[in-house]
């Protein structure tokens, strides 16, 4: 695998993680989670209504990161 194809996870300031690359998302019991798209945003504030994905709720709850 070339370096360019290593999956990346980027924490965006005051926002979600952004996950790029070939990663399989699974529930704790091993059930596959459909990512729906190539680039996905896992929730980081814990308040999303569509976890494990971000739904923008962090913007109305004042979620802040330290960067």
């Amino acid at each position: 695998m070339s370096a360019a194809r290593i999956p990346t996870i980027t924490p965006y300031p005051d926002g979600p993680l952004i996950l790029r690359g070939d990663v399989q998302l699974e529930t704790p019991d091993g059930t596959r989670i459909d990512p729906h798209r190539r680039t996905v945003a896992p929730c980081r504030c814990g308040l999303s209504s569509i976890k494990p994905f971000c739904d923008g709720t962090h913007k109305v709850t004042g979620f802040r990161t330290d960067d």
Binding site: P13, S49, C54, K59
Partner: protein, 346 residues
Amino acid sequence: MYDTAPAIRRIVVFTPRGPLSDAVLERLTSSARPELSAPADDAVRRSEDILADDDVQSALFLLYASAYGSVEGIDPGSEWDPDLIRLRRSLEEAFEAALRAQVAMPALPEPTPDAVARALFALVEADDSPSVARHLARRATAEQVRESLVLRSVYTLREADPHSWAIPRLTGAPKAALVEIQADEYGGGRPDRMHAELFAQALRGAGLDDGYGAYLDQIPAITLAAQNMMSMFGLNRRLLGAIVGHLAAYEMTSSIPCRMIAGGLRRLGFGDEVAEYFDEHVEADAVHEQIAAHDLAGGLAAQRPELLPDIVFGAAACLCVEGRAGAQALAAWDDDRSALRPGAGS
């Protein structure tokens, strides 16, 4: 040979709204060559508010429809007609001047991805336009929901297209960011997942016509202006910063409102085939807004700091014009009126 017989005009789903749009329609759909500069000058001179001017905005809409090929019956051979290009430029000059006069510009951030993204999120958060999504979530009737879908369809049946004009004008990281967003908008290789197709499905599910322009005669000037603004920003390379800023603001005002709208649709008993477009945007635009703010708008500002003022202008203009269009619809619904224009012949 393209058929340029006058009869072709019958299939264009558009009724002129004044002398200027009448002349433009004639030029785009027939071999007739009515004079354009006098009606254009007259229309601009007498207009008190270009953004809400039916004749000017519908003429501009037709001129852009010629570039997109979005409206049936427009002769492809007229796309680069010098008279029509000259006309478009003169109308754009008046339209852009009106936008720049109307849009309040915030202080500019430093041209770094982080500072630009923070400034854009702050700009969106400070926007106090009345919320159409909240009305749809809580109080709207099914008929008002259908009207909101009709208003939205001007953009969403061609979703993402105005911003795609920017792709060849960008290089490096901001280009990769825009393509990352647009690839998702266009379904990631799956035609049935294209956002425009999901919206067509929503229209059909709500008992509406999914043909582009089917309701054109009922679209108010300010809603055409919102679409024309994107087309103008996208088609003019000198406005590259503005189309990038516009996309950032558009994405940043989507995920939470779409969740509210999906809730409103279900409250009124619309099916999942109608709500799916909005469900998809809750998740997709929470991704897109990060990429658009940091990597696209912030990345472009870092790469080309001279574009920073227009990046911010494009974002502020998006909020201003979408806000006006939304306020006009809400005012109509508050009065128990339709938010649509009376259609041709009705």
